[in-house]
């Protein structure tokens, strides 16, 4: 649960052009509330992190006031605080966005790509943006999920072991040309599973529904059901065995009396 809050804070630090707001109660009219808030803060997009049952994180990306909105289920969350993600980039520098070409294959992916570009790319000459380009966002569609990673550009000389490489990458800032540049992951990283695309902001007509999406509640319920059947299957197996034995009686054993007193 708390890692989702950290994830949100990480995203806030990644986007210098964003404005962080307080918690919103998840009432049925959250759409209206959120739209109002966005108006108030004079923004055009909204990213809403919704955590349900302290387990599942849903992310809404919506263009306010009347643009389309998407609801995602977020998996595989790794925040920037994880010590395995060793990179560090300049706060506020404009990122380079990379997409895989399968974003252009279907309309709904194209729409998502457009929304992502508009949300994640810091506007040029924004007052909080810094010069230089030292990190990359990677968006990839794998298995109908959008995977998101952040990498920083680093220069390192040739080393023998992976650990040495990591260590030197940790210390050295980019000092050379593009050919020697490599990347170190900064984080955060997550995986988005699109659930629905709506025509309006936080509501409206459903434009797209993911046919492969199963809600986490359903998954948990089905797992429980599977486990619940254990006893029944055992009993069934027993009776089946009995029937089988009755139907196929064994031949009398020649050695049965061998050891009888």
């Amino acid at each position: 649960m708390s890692r989702y809050r950290h994830l949100m804070l990480n995203v806030v630090s990644l986007l210098p052009h964003c404005k962080k707001d307080n918690k919103v109660e998840s009432t049925s009219s959250k759409g209206a509330t959120l739209n109002e808030l966005v108006e108030l803060r004079n923004c055009s997009y909204c990213m809403f992190f919704e955590c349900r049952k302290q387990k599942d994180l849903y992310l809404w990306m919506a263009k306010c006031p009347n643009g389309p909105s998407v609801k995602f289920l977020v998996n595989a969350v790794h925040t920037m605080e994880e010590l395995k993600l060793t990179g560090n980039h300049l706060k506020g520098s404009r990122p380079i966005l990379t997409f895989t070409t399968n974003f252009n294959k279907d309309p709904h992916w194209m729409l998502l790509k457009e929304m992502i570009t508009q949300i994640f790319e810091t506007p040029k000459d924004h007052r909080k943006s810094k010069p230089f380009h030292d990190h990359v966002f990677a968006f990839a569609i794998v298995d109908d999920h959008i995977w998101f990673h952040v990498m920083v550009l680093v220069l390192f000389p040739a080393f023998d072991s992976v650990l040495d490489i990591k260590w030197s990458k940790f210390q050295i800032v980019n000092q050379g040309g593009i050919e020697e540049t490599t990347l170190v992951e900064v984080g955060p990283r997550f995986c988005l599973n699109p659930i629905k695309i709506f025509g309006g902001s936080f509501g409206g007509p459903t434009l797209y529904e993911n046919p492969f999406y199963i809600s986490p509640n359903q998954i948990r319920a089905l797992e429980k059901k599977k486990k619940a059947g254990k006893y029944a299957t055992k009993v069934k197996a027993k009776t089946r065995r009995k029937m089988h034995e009755l139907e196929n009686p064994l031949e009398p054993d020649e050695f049965a009396d061998l050891w009888r007193e």
């Binding site: 990644l14 895989t100 794998v142 800032v173 980019n174 593009i178 993911n210």
Partner: protein, 298 residues
């Protein structure tokens, strides 16, 4: 195949829209879900809405105009790996890495041609996305890992060298034993020779057998080496580590002080019983046989 489904109304004859169709057919055919979990759900794609025109409309609504410079978008498209197995972590991560790297190369090419500063100079110090304290932790962890690996290597090397050393030692011992044997043999030979060639010029001498002195009396006396004995006051029974050499001074100092300030002897010995003290009943009460006190002791 079922009756008319909602998607059919929107599906044209175009081939690239066959995706949804294929899914739904496979759904019906196998009756099982396409997800990796074995979930026998009831053909979810039947309900799946796919309003292509609506989506494309919205896309046009929100898109930035065509003549927007690339520098505002900074988005790069890259070919993806078709056969990426989601569950294979390493391959997947590698794919993302290559994607990002390729993307930066292309972006660099474009920006460089426009003359935009790309790399952050090494002396540009500004606020970073992770705090310095956090980076210290990361550094600590990396160092630890490095140390662990190095230690493991060293231990391995030590083990190996120990093995080698053992072998070398064994060889050396053998050599020494051989040498000793040879020495003795040579002396015996020499004696024999002298015997054979007669004693010639050295009649007055003894036969050369040296029984006194020299290595413990020529082997007939026991070695006079001191064997460690246990001092009577030593309560550890001789198993305590004895001070070797360098600490004699401190011991002597201690003993001097003990004898000067203490009432003599080791502390613990004061309370030990001996012949004199067992019969000594001075400390016991002399016969307060009043009833109160006796009842208390019951």
């Amino acid at each position: 195949m079922g009756g008319i489904r909602r998607e059919d109304l929107f599906l044209g004859k175009e081939d690239f829209m066959g995706r949804n169709d294929d899914e739904s057919e496979s759904e019906l055919g196998s009756g099982s879900d396409s997800e990796s979990e074995e979930v026998p759900s009831s053909e979810p794609s039947k309900r799946a809405i796919y309003n292509r025109e609506g989506i494309l409309e919205k896309l046009e609504d929100i898109s930035w105009p065509e003549n927007v410079d690339w520098i505002h978008k900074l988005a790069v498209d890259l070919e993806e790996d078709k056969d990426l197995d989601v569950n294979d972590d390493i391959v997947r991560e590698l794919a993302f890495y290559t994607q990002a790297l390729e993307g930066t190369r292309q972006a660099y090419a474009k920006l460089h041609s426009q003359g935009v500063a790309f790399f952050r100079p090494p002396d540009y110090y500004a606020e970073m996305v992770k705090t310095d304290s956090h980076m210290l932790k990361v550094k600590g962890r990396l160092l630890e890992q490095k140390k662990k690996i190095e230690e493991a290597e060293e231990r391995k090397k030590a083990r190996e060298s120990k093995k080698m050393a053992k072998e070398v030692q064994a060889v050396k011992l053998k050599e020494r034993a051989k040498q000793k044997k040879e020495d003795i043999e040579s002396v015996k030979k020499w004696r024999k020779q002298r015997q054979r060639s007669g004693f010639g010029a050295d009649k007055g001498e003894d036969l050369g057998f040296n029984f006194d002195g020299g290595g413990g009396g020529g082997g007939f006396e026991r070695s006079k080496k001191k064997r460690p004995g246990v001092a009577p006051g030593d309560r550890s029974g001789g198993s305590a580590k004895r001070n070797v050499g360098g600490k004699e001074k401190a011991n002597r100092k201690r003993e001097r002080r003990d004898s000067k300030f203490g009432y003599g002897g080791r502390k613990g010995l004061k309370k030990q019983n001996n012949a004199a003290t067992t019969d000594d009943l001075r400390g016991f009460n002399k016969g307060d046989f009043s009833s109160k006190k006796r009842k208390k002791n019951l």
